[in-house]
């Protein structure tokens, strides 16, 4: 598998990356490469230029900011998985990171790359959605902060504009019950369906691979808020959703799995 030919630039700073992005029409950022490179090798993506931000190590950090944790966009999944700070104040996030791909993937892939790619089948975007995280986006006009609930727009599409770069993920500290249920056939695969649930007085649930973007299970959340039982609420897991059909699972089976997994997630998170 060989990608089509492309130009390559190595960014020396965030500002440098943004300036290159602003000056080239079809540039793509390369961080860990675990989303972009497979697409390029399959020739499903053929960017004219690759802007390599892999050496911007100042974007790799996990810092306590009082009521939230700031995670640099270039932080590898492996580092998220093993962060003592995250394990103590947002334990679901390291757990979800531990379920991404395999060790090789987790040592290369970055949290910012996974979120920017905006794949509805990825685990971390759904996790940060359930956590109500905020994203810091840097562009030529400075920075803006976007909540996760407004970030994911469509299939592999986010509010990031072509000259913007995600630099930081702000994850609220979270001490309540939580659960992450990932159903797949091989350990390293994407989820056929995944469910992230956090409960802190009120319950937020997000779904993996039940639509074009990571999704909140709003019907379940509403039912719970109205006092429904777990059994009844989880029956609404796929309300209003149109999950994909592929070789791994039909849409109908995904609906069923979502109910089962939401039920299991709630049983664990609300324990």
């Amino acid at each position: 598998m060989f990608p089509a030919s492309f130009d390559y630039a190595k960014a020396t700073s965030v500002a440098d990356a943004i300036s290159i992005l602003s000056s080239v029409d079809d540039a793509k950022l390369l961080a860990g490469g675990h989303s972009l490179l497979p697409l390029m090798k399959l020739r499903l993506a053929s960017p004219g230029m690759i802007v390599d931000i892999g050496s911007l190590t100042d974007l790799s950090y996990i810092e306590d900011k009082g009521d939230y944790v700031a995670v640099g966009a270039l932080t590898r999944h492996h580092d998220v998985q093993n962060s003592r700070l995250l394990k103590s104040v947002v334990p679901i996030l390291p757990y979800v990171a531990s379920r991404v791909g395999d060790p090789a993937v987790r040592h290369r892939g970055t949290i910012g790359g996974s979120i920017s790619h905006g794949d509805g089948a990825s685990d971390l975007p759904a996790a940060v959605l359930a956590l109500d995280a905020k994203f810091v986006l840097m562009g030529p006009k400075g920075e803006r902060v976007v909540p996760a609930s407004e970030f994911f727009v469509g299939f592999l599409e986010t509010v990031l504009s072509s000259d913007e770069l995600l630099t930081e993920i702000r994850v609220p500290k979270f001490s309540g019950g939580w659960s992450f249920q990932k159903f797949n056939r091989r350990a390293q695969d994407w989820a056929i369906v995944g469910v992230a649930a956090v409960n802190n007085g009120h319950t937020r649930i997000s779904l993996v691979n039940m639509g074009p973007t990571p999704l909140r299970a709003t019907a379940v959340e509403a039912a719970l808020a109205d006092g429904a039982s777990i059994e009844v609420a989880s029956g609404r897991a796929s309300d209003g959703l149109d999950p994909p059909s592929d070789l791994n699972a039909s849409s109908e089976y995904r609906r069923h799995l979502a109910e089962v997994l939401v039920k299991r997630a709630l049983a664990e998170a609300l324990r």
Partner: protein, 794 residues
């Protein structure tokens, strides 16, 4: 049969010696075809049809030809005059078998997605691949046949000129009236239909070929990622029209094959043809998704099997009807593969009446051919699944139905109804050992407890008792099956003047560890260290005679040849030693690298001295040729018949349909073991590959003949994470067929495991009245079956 005779006081065989092949494999030093540096080579890339069946209306290569670094672009039409003969099929299973001519690049009509339509040569690989995108082909779609039943119906034809989609009908029915009588008088008849899904062999190293014209004369060296350098040399000569004497085939490090490299491929023929045409080295390395289309597929059968049994479950007859998917064309052994199982649908059970029919049909899909087990996994699946159904019908435990039907030990050698002679076997103790190891009674008890508690996680246990025929093969038998080659194997041993030893084998290892095992066999016999022994192979200039590696044959046939050649060279050495010691040869004994006079051990001559004397030839017995070298070509008198019991324990989640393999126990009887670690490695890999068929893998075609899963994202080859640690055991019943008492182990795990897993799943789901789940038993399939059984509207 005694275990092999040894000339060593400390036996090497039977030890878990580390494989000498591994350091260079593990450090990346091993050289595969694509690693070979070759100056001035042209890189070949192949444009493949996206249509399953279509007429090629026009191919426009003008733009591609003008692209940078492109040397040549050729269509099938333009190459027509370069072909010498169609691609070879070496197994015309019947006289009437239909085998339409197949050329490396299609000129008029493509028959499957992946069929070649044009070829590019360029000075680098990327340029060659980029040029493919610039070739414009106009196709006119033709009717596509995907399903085997549709093929059989002959409404649309893959090859209209044949008038039918049936390539052949092959029957093995020694006594029809006996079968009919059995079914007429049977107390129980069990009839089942099973689908053997198509599989992608998925060797770790993709295929590759490099053809180098030699600077002097018109000779060619062909490096290929192949299991069969010797057969390839002959077939390339016949197909390309180059004298066999001018071809040298080398299989360098080869990263697995599983049967998929037991073939002669159009890329090999094409690379040689183009190297000859342009007098330039030509090389090609397959891409992974390309391989999904261009490398043969395994399995692809619909099986109908009927058992007739007495009231107590004792078998009276087995009747089998297969439809086998040939794909678009016949590859090297395509038609014969299902027949390799055709003798084994009665398993290891004593069955007096037998009938087997196989109909091979063409479809618009990639050709099928040998894949690990080749016919025998399919046979084992059908009989072992059916035995469970029979047990249920009779109302006895699956273990008991097997006990009642095993060929009893006193019946060996056993003449089977289909016409084989099982040389040895002792099945009952093997089964009992498996049942004890897994704790069968306790598992059944726990299963009941879970059921009575209404657990949604259902426990299931599945048995698979298997026997295979391997050690391919007695040449006469292969002849009687219309196979175009013999089954012998050749070995040469040289004891060099410096007393180091070279062993030349005709086998072609591609992961099996022959260098280690063969050196152990010779070390034992000569009483020297394995480190003093080099094993040479896989180069037709170094090992001119051989029939290569497939069908679990290499140890039983090739290892035996090595053993016999060692004996032969020792006989010669003994004559020289006797000459120097001035005694009769029969007065000498040999041990630990030295000949000694019986009764006076001080009077001795070391093998190293003998070797030097043989080299200088200063003082040899009258008439004896110099040097210590011997060659043996051994043709086995029979197949070998490994057997065993595999037991899977699964947990099926009723809510999701997911199956977890909790435990896997196997008790294999592969006869004497040369290196038990290599044996275990083969069994473990085989089990994993068979479980992959049962739970994960399937080449999925849509109705238009498109293969939908050409990447490992969608074609689910499992990893170690998906398996528990296998619990292995063995019994040892040496084969009397060869001097080593060995049987072969390469395919055993893959043959045994699919029915063990499916039997376990069906056992778990029996509470829902479910009687079968087709492979692969995906979570959705299981969930659907449970939903259906509950009458849920689906």
């Amino acid at each position: 049969m005694t275990i092999l005779e040894t000339g060593s006081s400390e036996r090497v065989t039977g030890k878990r010696l580390l494989r000498r092949e591994d350091p260079e494999l593990l450090t990346g030093e091993a050289k595969f075809v694509d690693d070979i540096v070759q100056q001035n080579a042209l890189y070949m890339a192949i444009l493949r049809s996206p249509m399953a069946h279509a007429r090629i209306v026009a191919v426009d290569t003008a733009i591609a030809k003008r692209m940078p670094d492109v040397f040549a672009v050729m269509t099938g039409e333009e190459l027509k005059s370069d072909w010498f003969a169609p691609m070879p099929c070496a197994w015309p299973v019947t006289g009437e078998m239909k085998n339409p001519p197949h050329y490396p690049v299609a000129a008029d009509v493509v028959k499957y997605v992946g069929d070649a339509v044009a070829v590019v040569l360029a000075s680098n690989k990327v340029a060659a691949i980029d040029a493919l995108a610039a070739i414009d082909v106009k196709y006119e779609a033709l009717p596509v046949i995907v399903a085997l039943e549709d093929a059989l119906a002959d409404k649309e034809l893959v090859h209209p000129e044949l008038g039918t989609n049936t390539s052949y009908v092959w029957k093995l029915e020694p006594d029809k009236s006996k079968v009919d009588q059995a079914f007429a008088s049977a107390a129980h008849v069990v009839k089942s239909r099973f689908v053997q899904q198509r599989l992608l062999p998925s060797a770790m190293e993709p295929r590759g070929v490099l053809v180098v014209p030699q600077p002097y004369g018109s000779e060619y060296t062909i490096y290929s990622s192949t299991q069969i350098p010797h057969i390839l040399k002959i077939m390339l000569s016949l197909t390309v029209g180059v004298s066999e004497a001018k071809l040298r085939v080398i299989a360098p490090a080869v990263g697995g094959g599983f049967g998929s490299k037991l073939n002669v491929y159009s890329e090999e023929v094409l690379a040689l043809t183009l190297a000859r045409k342009f007098h330039r080295p030509v090389r090609w390395t397959e891409e992974r998704s390309e391989g999904a289309l261009a490398t043969i597929h395994g399995r692809g059968q619909i099986q109908e099997i009927e058992l007739a049994a007495e009231a107590d479950g004792r078998l009276m007859a087995v009747k089998v009807n297969l439809i086998a998917d040939m794909g678009g064309y016949l590859q090297l052994l395509t038609p014969g593969v299902p027949l390799l199982g055709g003798f084994l649908y009665h398993g290891l059970y004593d069955v007096p009446a037998y009938s087997f029919t196989c109909t091979g049909v063409f479809t618009n899909k990639t050709p099928t051919d040998a894949y690990r087990g080749a016919g025998r996994p399919e046979a084992t699946f059908a009989i072992e699944r059916s035995m469970d159904s029979l047990a249920r019908k009779v109302g006895i435990d699956p273990a008991e139905i097997r006990r009642r039907n095993f060929i009893p030990p006193e019946k060996f050698p056993y003449s089977s109804a289909p016409g084989l002679v099982f040389d040895s076997g002792n099945y009952l103790p093997n089964l009992e050992q498996g049942l004890e190891k897994v704790g069968y009674a306790q598992i059944r008890a726990e299963q009941q407890i879970r059921r009575s508690r209404g657990s949604k996680k259902h426990l299931g246990v599945g048995l698979s008792c298997y026997v295979e025929m391997c050690g391919l093969a007695p040449s006469k038998v292969l002849g009687s099956l219309s196979y175009s080659a013999g089954g012998w194997e050749s070995a040469t041993i040289r004891i060099l003047p410096t007393s180091k030893v070279q062993v030349v084998t005709g086998t072609a290892p591609h992961g099996q560890g022959h260098e280690t095992s063969w050196s152990m066999i010779v070390a034992d016999r000569l009483g020297i260290s394995p480190e003093d022994i080099e094993v040479l192979h896989s180069d037709t200039a170094i090992a001119p005679y051989g029939l290569d590696t497939y069908g679990s044959r290499s140890l039983a046939v090739g290892g035996s040849a090595v053993y016999l050649a060692t004996d032969k060279v020792l006989e010669k050495a003994k004559l020289i030693a006797a000459h120097h010691l001035e005694v009769a040869a029969e007065d000498l004994s040999y041990k630990d690298g030295s000949f000694a006079v019986k009764g006076s051990p001080d009077k001795a001559m070391a093998l190293s001295s003998v070797a030097f004397e043989a080299f200088t030839a200063h003082n040899l017995p009258e008439g004896l040729e110099p040097n210590l070298e011997a060659t043996v070509t051994w043709d086995p008198p029979n197949f070998t018949f490994p057997f065993g019991t595999h037991i899977a324990v699964v947990e099926v989640d009723e809510e999701t349909g997911a199956t977890e393999l909790l435990r896997y126990v196997s008790i294999d009887d592969v006869g004497n073991q040369i290196n038990p670690m290599i044996v275990e490695g083969q069994i473990e890999g085989g089990i994993a590959q068979g479980v992959a068929q049962a739970l994960f893998e399937e080449a999925i075609y849509d109705g238009s003949g498109n293969l939908l899963n050409t990447t490992f994202l969608e074609y689910l080859v499992p990893s170690a994470s998906e398996f528990p640690s296998f619990e292995l055991g063995n019994t040892v019943t040496p084969s009397p067929t060869n001097p080593l008492g060995v049987k072969g182990v390469g395919e055993a795990g893959c043959i045994a495991s699919p029915p063990a897993v499916i039997n376990a799943i069906v056992d778990a789901l029996s509470v829902f009245g479910i009687e079968h789940i087709e492979m692969p038993a995906s979570p959705e399939k299981v969930w659907s079956a449970i939903s259906f059984s509950r009458g849920n509207s689906r």
